[in-house]
Symmetry: C2
Subunit: 157 residues, 2 copies
DNA sequence: TATTGTTATACTCTATAACTATA
DNA sequence: TATAGTTATAGAGTATAACAATA
């Protein structure tokens, strides 16, 4: 025999709460919601650093690939070349990164971090490490590594 | 002793390819790239149906929560009320969903699918099932279920 | 006085065409 | 003729303030 609690929760499910059971079985939807949550968390943590995810990833990519061409960095990050111009303008205006006309091919810019850019990136990496730690606390390190691996396999879809 | 191939690939790694090893250790970045890949895949599969992810999720949510208020559906999907108006205008203009002034509270709209909306959603669910199948083929069903679970835990960050 | 749906608006992100300077 | 960086621009998505109708 069914308890009153069960009957009540059934009524609640069908009358009070807006259910999204179907959408929550779809990887694309759940992935989108998780991504938005992580971006909001990122925004909170990076408030004082004044860096967007795109700006942060650009600094990281430049440090890991010093002297590489502007187009190559943009392409690696999946940013359209035209849209990357304003982003670099901003980083350069703030003295975080610089464009140097390449001697070999004077059409291209070799990108590099400034000392200030390196210093800010140091603080940004620390803030990012805190997000990773929060994720680790929530799902555990093995699951965090597994998640990264699974998502990378999914990216080739 | 190192082979020529190993030496060559090392040179390539440090000189030819733009590396993103650091970013690829960050959950937020990998998640973002996977999300974009899935949205592109969605766009390909839904080309003929002319439904964006937001429109698709709206149809699904209305079917699962018939007669619910417009604001409740929007809130459940994480869409701002003002932005939901144009989305519903579009679905209504195409005869897929309808707004009915509620008798109980005449400020609110009760949303429902039309027959055409139900029929289109049928086809859309089939297209979506194909994406899930593609994901399943790529990472396996246990990992797909585990991914959904992990992402949902991450969403509460 | 508060809430639902709506309008207006602004801001960010993203995509494409076309220019310039170099090659 | 092609490429790197740039400009201009348009479209989508998203966020906030304020209004009319209703509670």
């Amino acid at each position: 025999m069914r308890s009153d609690v069960e009957a009540e929760s059934e009524v609640a499910a069908s009358n009070d709460v807006t259910e999204l059971k179907e959408m929550n079985r779809i990887v694309g939807y759940v992935l989108r919601r998780a991504q938005l949550a992580l971006f909001e968390d990122f925004a909170r943590r990076f408030k004082g650093l004044d860096l967007t995810p795109a700006q942060f990833s650009t600094l990281v990519a430049i440090r890991e690939n010093p002297e590489r061409r502007q187009s190559d960095i943009a392409a690696a990050l999946g940013i359209q070349r035209p849209n990357f111009v304003a982003l670099m303008d901003n980083l350069e205006r703030r003295g975080l990164a610089e464009r140097v006309r390449s001697g070999a091919d004077r059409r291209s810019n070799a990108l590099a971090l400034t000392l200030a850019g390196t210093a800010l990136l140091e603080r940004a990496m620390a803030a990012q490490a805190e997000q990773e730690a929060a994720i680790r606390a929530r799902i555990g390190e093995p699951e965090r590594l597994r998640l990264i691996d699974t998502l990378q396999r999914l990216t080739g879809i």
